[in-house]
Assembly symmetry: none
Homo-oligomer: 535 residues x 2
């Protein structure tokens, strides 16, 4: 039996993280991220605010298949002046499919009067009635105490009264929120310690923002002060300067003895090996460039420049590496000569389910090819189908299907016969299949779509295999890789079975990059469904 104290991890990427400028998750994005967090071992996944917008309502309209995590819906305490049973906001929450409900409540006296325009007692009643309503609907209840630290500084008795009221009404967790992100670590530690004298730490959570670059430190300070639930987001996503970065907190809590010896979480330490991948996956979904300098998972986090460091790090990694990079799925980068490629590729092969002897000489060729392609700008985090094709090609496992000899795409904006300004796209392709050359043309609402139409119009015996293939998403990024700016295109495809896969293409030309990703997608589909090789 472990004698460690349990720390609970609460991820709000899909709710508070969705407040980030420029972030706009689709329902499918939300499902993919929720499943990823669940697989990692996060205790609570806050999925959004049902009723606040169509995406969040759709996300909560059915039960999502999480294995372990508690799906949490966010909302507000009931309005003053109506009963909890009669509050439309709460009704939308109880209609939503969730295991827990987290309600934001005001706990700063000034804000209660200014923003809610009600008495301090009426606000306490609203907290009590709302929590009771949650438990009555068989959900685990939590209260997010908005502006808790500002509230505590202004009127500690009232802030604590809010927390105690929520707890007495049946809340599992009372979460102390530093809403405007202005509190500093020494304040957070002192205040959480003081609050923990009134509300047991096992019922206290912490929610911080990064406005002074202390969100992670404030979270650690709150743990030191007694709090046992911590809230954060992947890559520190969140409005303004972001929330506490769960990707930085996790390895600190699991690998640093002062925390790891004292606490246990729902995330097994071996799952940390997925952390770099999870972090990059979120960036891919958001179509953002990963932050090279991100703690633990950034491409530069274990990069060593300069001969002195390099030889020291090779003699004794601990001198310049505070944790082993492999522990978080990252790798050491020696900027002169990268020797970390091989084990990384072996790990990726294993992840793709490709069995191969580590001593196989083809592995070296594959490692070289991956390195060369990464130098050109390819990224296989988030384009696993392209990696699998590359690997299986190196192992001779991909049959020859067909060959595109040439293509041409025309995009024209002009006035049509009706005098309307229209933009039209047409494509022609020449494909060799089973010894014959087939020429097809297609129209589309964009150059890539026209190319896709032309390509699939007639692929001889392969046409029927591709009928249920659909392009679900298309992402483009401009990179400066190697010596010039190139375009990287990632395509996500789905088929009739609901299978999804992502492929990548890189070229100075966006149409060419799209074509590569499209060809990989088609090839992957043929391979996956066991289409016969060309004659």
């Amino acid at each position: 039996m472990s004698t460690k104290e349990r720390l609970y991890l609460f991820d709000t990427t899909l709710r508070d993280g969705a407040q980030t400028q420029g972030v706009d998750f689709s329902v499918d994005d939300k499902i993919r991220i929720a499943e990823t967090l669940d697989a990692l071992g996060i205790d609570y996944v806050e999925g959004g605010w049902p009723g606040a917008n169509p995406t969040d309502s759709a996300f909560f309209s059915e039960k999502r298949g999480l294995k372990k995590a508690t799906m949490t819906a966010f909302g507000m305490t009931k309005r003053v002046g109506r009963s909890a049973d009669n509050d439309p906001g709460l009704a939308a929450l109880f209609d939503a499919e969730s295991d827990a409900v987290c309600l934001v409540a005001k706990t700063w006296d000034h804000q209660v009067e200014l923003a809610l325009g009600c008495s301090l007692d009426e606000n306490l009643e609203a907290i009590e009635d709302s929590v009771r309503a949650i438990t009555k609907h068989d959900r685990e209840a939590m209260i997010d105490c908005e502006h808790f630290f500002d509230g505590y500084k202004a009127n500690p008795d009232y802030a604590i009264a809010c927390a105690k009221t929520a707890l007495a009404a049946g809340a599992r967790w009372v979460v102390l929120c530093d809403t405007n992100g202005g509190s500093l670590p020494h304040e957070v530690e002192a205040i959480t310690r003081a609050v923990a004298e009134h509300v047991p730490g096992d019922n206290l959570g912490i929610h911080t923002h990064n406005d002074t670059e202390n969100a992670v430190a404030n979270t650690l300070a709150a743990i030191n002060g007694g709090v046992r639930q911590i809230q954060g987001t992947l890559n520190g996503l969140g409005e303004r300067c972001g929330n506490a970065n769960m990707v930085s907190l996790l390895p600190t809590l699991l690998l640093k003895p002062d925390y790891a010896d004292r606490f246990e979480t729902g995330v097994p330490v071996e799952n940390l090996k997925q952390l770099t991948h999870v972090s990059r996956l979120l960036d891919e979904i958001l179509n953002r460039s990963p932050n090279r300098h991100q703690p633990y998972v950034g491409a530069s986090a274990f990069a060593h420049k300069g001969g002195l460091h390099v030889s020291a790090v090779q003699k004794d990694p601990a001198t310049y590496e505070h944790v082993p990079p492999e522990a978080v799925g990252n790798k050491r980068r020696i900027l002169v000569s990268d020797q970390a490629g091989r084990s990384n590729v072996l790990a990726q092969l294993e992840a793709a389910g490709i069995e191969v002897d580590a001593q196989d000489p083809r592995i070296k060729r594959l490692v070289d090819e991956v390195k060369e392609r990464e130098f050109l700008g390819y990224a296989y985090d988030g384009a696993e189908a392209s990696f699998e094709l590359l690997a299986r090609r190196a192992l001779g496992e991909v049959p020859h299907y067909f060959e595109v000899e040439s293509f041409r795409v025309l995009v024209e904006r002009r006035f049509n016969a009706m005098g309307e300004l229209v933009t039209v796209s047409e494509a022609t392709v020449k494909v060799a299949v089973d010894g014959a050359t087939i020429m097809s043309a297609g129209e589309g609402n964009g150059p890539v779509n026209a190319l896709d139409q032309a390509l699939r119009k007639d692929l001889g015996k392969y046409s029927s295999w591709l009928e249920d293939l659909r392009l679900a998403d298309f992402k483009v990024r401009i990179l400066t890789s190697g010596t010039e700016a190139v375009t990287r295109v990632m395509i996500e495809s789905v088929d009739g079975d609901g299978a999804r896969w992502s492929t990548v293409g890189v070229s100075p030309n966006i149409v060419d990059a799209s074509f590569q990703a499209l060809m990989d997608s088609i090839t992957y589909k043929l391979l996956r469904d066991g289409a016969p090789a060309a004659l």
Copy 2:
């Protein structure tokens, strides 16, 4: 007379910051940054390591005209087995033009034996002799204690002996370095407090790295522990995950009462108004996109999304702003999101500096147009220039410049005369300027680039206004908006003055969407620079 304690600020952007992957300062860059730091009021500017590379040697080859800051040169303690007078590294330092010299010394017993291969006493002698040599050459002496925290944990007596030896030999400062960045705030506070019992805090400095995302917090923890010199870099530049971010530390120390009431620095509080500019200037010099989410100075640091927050922040800014944005030279942004209502649009107009009466009937038309465009997939959150154009057009403030009558773009992949597979892009455009129709053709490495080339080849009298316009970034996203899938393109542009703006285009056709964003970018540039209207 102030009764506050003095905190000294030491900037190492030009030395430790220069270790960042991809950073390569020229001598002119270094001079510009050193002068900027001096004007801000930083006490020490560490300019580099004379003798280690040609740039740093050139930088220190003459006295730089700093008004107040102490120019500091970095190096290593003398080698064991030779005298300080006879050490070539120290000789290069004393030839360099600097006011202070900071030498890195080993203080972790294990490292002394492993890396230096000398006895613990020989290392103490090297520290003592080296410090004596600095003061003999009339420079202020400092010692950077490498791996101090790991060293202290392994052998506290020896780590402290190193610090005391440096102090006794005449060092003004003994700097405690968390070299591999693995220490956590509670450790840093406890260890600095313990060290301050042996070496006065007025002689202690702190140098942290961000490997656990705690560099800023570790610096604050060290101040709490008694340290009175803090080292950092602009924007947290530095190898791996970076150093402590001086841009985050400064406003915390100057604006937060727990520090501001207790300490004074060489930076007057009014100089903080330059901070956003200083931070962006560094990014310009490095040709990096500024981090929108950077604490205090990021474009999103005071951005508010969602009607609830917007109305609250307008009633009482302190609710969602922990400091006033103007205090650090930043500004509040009200994001126009899909919840855009009238108050959001009015606030956004005010932020863009557009004066208009709230009762003006054109406001309603603008709100309706924003809503309609958002339904189609436009997002003005992050494309402020397109929003400004839309608003100014609604108010009749955008002159007519030119009109694109038609364009045509061809992308072809084929074998060239050498038998190589190539992809080529060509564009033709027809533009009406001042009553004449101009037809131009352009080639590019992609369709948008070809279109941009053709468009800018001849725009009549406007061509000269666009010479310094450059496309810096290009982002594409596929959305399902309104009734069908559309492509949203965001373009970020920069000009010769370092101004940056973002524009957006939406269409089912990626080339068309890019064309719209491109047209907005060009129009914004002409409007901004006051180009004359068409005849």
